[in-house]
Symmetry: C2
DNA sequence: CCTTGTTAATTGCTTTGTTAAGTGTTTTGC
DNA sequence: GCAAAACACTTAACAAAGCAATTAACAAGG
């Protein structure tokens, strides 16, 4: 396209951040549409998924597991508490902590959307290739283990 | 962790959307820090990259290339125009379109950060493996080609 | 012409991301 | 014990995402 100069950086098609962003958009766009019907955002869905899978936990851990920042989580949980999708109570042993648990209503949201979600990922597997999908997940998980930019420093 | 029931959905560690989100966070966190020093957000950086690579283009195409929604792009470009990083002019042939081009100042931002960016990705290549990184990019690009959820419908 | 339809960009509104500062609570070191 | 540090959230402020509705400019048909 642009022959005016030798590119300083790799082409954006070979840029990892941009490729990740596009891939996420590709995958999430249909799911977002699906969830919108229940008034559940992508983030709320992640929260429900994590709580349903791993059981009650404090907000810091939940934030890490659901890939949300604590300030965002605070606001989202407030809304979800209003929707009765989750419940919170302060930890008796450490009153700084607040323990979050999924409610029956929250679990129902998961039950309701599981078939659609499964259908979507089944289609994805078929069109993309089951083996390739596993490969991709392995590569992504390995990348997440790298903990870049802190290779000498402590790991919080 | 949670033995209360058989999970309806795959474990979040094997969930593609979550894995993509974590990977993006892993990669972008150090870059964001790097760019913040120049008052350039991650999004502005993407815009500069795309314009520098492919030359002037209208906003719709730029939005697609930089993975931004048109409304977001409108507001970001207004700021970038104020910073003199980009310039806009209406297309003479079609006065609905506005053509965006990178300025010298914009190009300077890229030049200034290219060494850091290159160093970061070199480190990434070394620690993650050059071959594996290529594999990952190939898999991601293939995924982006799938255009999921519109397999019978028209492709706008 | 001129109505209808389409497209490009903008604006409004609500939610979320991001950073920094603030508020209690617990832990640590003296 | 007790002041200082560390910790778990919460709040505040602003940028950006995401969605719907609007405006302005083209395109086609009658």
């Amino acid at each position: 396209m642009n022959d005016r100069h030798t590119p300083l950086l790799r082409r954006t098609a070979r840029s990892l951040p941009i490729a990740l962003l596009r891939a996420r958009e590709t995958v999430m766009a249909p799911l977002r549409e699906m969830l919108a019907a229940s008034g559940v955002s992508e983030q709320k869905w992640r929260i429900l998924r994590v709580l349903d899978e791993a059981g009650p936990m404090d907000q810091s851990l939940l934030a890490e597991q659901a890939c949300l920042q604590l300030p965002s989580l605070t606001r989202i949980l407030r809304a979800m508490e209003g929707q009765k999708l989750i419940a919170r109570h302060v930890d008796a042993a450490d009153r700084r902590r607040s323990i979050v648990a999924i409610t029956d209503a929250g679990h129902n949201v998961i039950t309701r959307h599981a078939p659609d979600s499964i259908a979507f990922f089944t289609e994805l597997e078929q069109r993309y290739g089951k083996k390739r999908l596993q490969e991709l997940l392995d590569l992504l998980n390995d990348l997440n283990k790298l903990d870049l930019g802190r290779q000498g420093t402590d790991r919080r």
